[in-house]
Amino acid sequence: MSLKIKDLPIEDYWLSGNPSCPGCPASLGLRLLMKTLGPKTIVVIPACCSTIIQGAYPKTSANFPILNIAFAASAAAASGIVEALELKGRSNVNVVVWAGDGGTVDIGLQALSGAAERNENIVYVCYDNEAYMNTGIQRSGATPYGAWTTTTITGKKEHKKNLPLIMAAHGIPYVATASISYPIDFITKLKKASKIYGMKYIHLHSPCPTGWRFPSSKTIEIGRLAVLTGTWVLYEVENGIFKLNPPSNVLIDRNKRKPVRSYIKIQGRFSHLTEKNIDELQRYIDRQWETYLKLLSIGKIY
């Protein structure tokens, strides 16, 4: 029985009129997250775009409790909340981290790894817009090869760090990738995560019109192309069992994937790429798929 958008409550806890950019995937993601998990949720937010888009004191766009915290500290701060609530017998509250890619794959990784190793009862969601967007589009460990940022003006020379697999290597109960363009998949994974005890990690691919240089009406379209080209792969690792999710599960056959060119040609951040660069990106995607197919053949990877 799969979820439908209309099954979600009409109530919004992430309120409209917030100061996010037009077409912002973070705002959309936070709205879906709160609709899915409901009001018995405490959200920890490190420095990221969501620090700003929740609004400035004394106003807020959030009708749920938020603990804002320093850049590197979100998984640790969430651990403290979880332990305090457990001690006080208030374990029926979801404790969620909502962090950007910089705060997750770079500066926040140590605290996240520690919380994962301790198997803290947290839903950690990284909304990955593939650069430090809040500070003005600087390269992060999650920025893909070739992408222009203000600190890689000729294009990034290295590939994206594969954090979901790093999190899976911690052996935590649940790891999933998701995309803002596939909301049913995202909310299904959130619901599942909220029912599992221990550390849950969801990596949400989040195309950013401002940073990626595309029209604000194209967020969903670009997110879909990321998945359909196989650049972003939807999967989950539940108790160690690796599983591809639709539509990525029908892209095992390389011929069914759209060429990466169709994904990058509509983004300004890739406009300078040469044929050689595009070939390198395509090769990287194909290599990543070889890894996922191996994991699929193993089945239970931990």
């Binding site: 700003i52 400035a56 590197a72 500290a73 651990s79 403290g80 909340i81 605290a111 301790r118």
Partner: protein
């Protein structure tokens, strides 16, 4: 109950008696015995608390912040590099006005590696919005940590508190300690009250969201006012604790034989004991010095210090710390407080005991004798003295 405890175990017993609910800590020499003992208390079921075994001090303070924001009474301990590594979160806790208590085993910073006592680590945190205590002995460590929770959680204060104890001299030296009865401490320190800014799904609010320049200064102003109010609260709490246990510590300043003193030695931490012994001996020789031990460094006891220094012809400020390029940190703060005193005493700075070097009773005697000589000769300033450093002699 009278037991023999190290300063570290005294700190752990204080946290036990205070019924802390969440502990998050990362091991560092010489703090380890505190967190080992607390882990033991928790695992044996003597203390109903959660212990988060974090992967760094930065995460220790972050976890404590989360737990405190969720309403728990929280405690951690660190030292030296650990304290400096958590610096960002120490500021966060102070600016967030969370009533956290932390034991700081004061230790030198590397390089070169050195695990012995010095106050530069804790004094580097003086601007973080934390109340700072320095202890003279292990009994005071235990009593001050219990008092610290009462001060931190007071509605007029709502500030985190760090309690400093000197590495090894206190942390690893066992002395007989009076451990209060749990029921007495329960009466003195009831469970933490839910504050208006607790994370609560039934009454949602956002903590620490962004402020524009037209709002931020008001937060700092309120923090400053809370620090000012804390002075009175610290004294009240000390008095109440004194009525309960028979032990009190004169609130902010501990003045020893100052009533008729013509000269004062200003000191912090464990070396106050040696200073007092030196002063006793010098009194036998006919001199009339006194010792002023700064017990609370933040809020700085400016008025109290001015009042006591008014009667001195000269003061010696002993800094177990260094602000390179200036001198002692306590010296600077004291001078600032005395600037507009009218007739000021001669003020002399001594850097001593860095990296755990002994400051002996005879060092204190030499210091006091030099000050009397300065008074006689009418010398107003002498260069900063480095006690015990080769080539720098009194």
């Amino acid at each position: 109950m009278r037991v023999v405890l190290t300063g570290n175990h005294a700190a752990a017993y204080a946290a036990l008696l205070s019924r802390v609910e969440v502990v998050a800590a990362y091991p560092i020499t010489p703090q380890t015995q505190i967190v080992e003992k607390l882990a033991e208390f928790i695992e044996e079921g003597r203390l109903k608390a959660k212990y988060i075994r974090v992967e760094s001090e930065h995460s220790a303070m972050a976890a404590i912040i989360g737990a405190s924001a969720a309403g728990a009474r929280t405690f951690t301990a660190t030292a030296s590099h650990g304290l400096i590594y958590m610096n960002e979160m120490v500021f966060w806790a102070g600016n967030a006005r969370l009533p956290i208590v932390m034991a700081v085993v004061c230790r030198a910073l590397a390089p070169p590696w050195n695990i012995w006592t010095e106050h530069t680590d804790i004094l580097a945190q003086r601007d973080t919005g934390w109340i700072q205590f320095f202890c003279e002995d292990n009994q005071e460590v235990l009593d001050t940590i219990i008092q610290a929770f009462k001060v931190a959680e007071d509605d007029r204060v709502l500030l985190p508190v760090m309690v400093g104890l000197d590495a090894f001299i206190l942390s690893h030296t066992a002395t007989p300690i009076n451990v209060p009865e749990q029921e007495d401490i329960d009466r003195f320190l009831p469970p933490r009250k839910p504050l208006p800014f607790i994370l609560d799904v039934d009454n949602p609010l956002t903590h620490s969201n962004m402020t524009y320049p037209d709002q931020t200064m008001e937060f700092r102003y309120r923090l400053q006012k809370a620090m000012e109010r804390a002075k009175r609260v610290i004294v009240e709490v000390d008095e109440e604790y004194g009525r309960l246990t028979g032990r009190r510590y004169s609130g902010l300043l501990d003045c020893y034989r100052c009533e008729d003193a013509d000269l004062g030695v200003i000191v912090m931490g464990s070396s106050a004991g040696d200073a007092k012994e030196a002063i006793d001996k010098l009194r036998d020789e006919g001199y009339k010095p006194g010792v002023v031990r700064i017990r609370v460094f933040r809020p700085f006891p400016r008025e109290e210090l001015r009042e006591i220094c008014r009667g001195f012809k000269a003061i010696a400020i002993i800094d177990r710390d260094l602000s390179p390029g200036l001198g002692g940190i306590l010296y600077t703060e004291t001078l600032t407080s005395l600037y507009d005193l009218g007739s000021r005493p001669i003020v002399q700075n001594y850097i001593a005991g860095l990296g755990g070097r002994d400051i002996s009773v005879s060092d204190f005697k030499l210091i006091v004798r030099e000050l009397y000589r300065s008074i006689e000769e009418g010398v107003e300033t002498i260069p900063i003295r480095w006690i015990g450093v080769e080539g720098v002699k009194l």
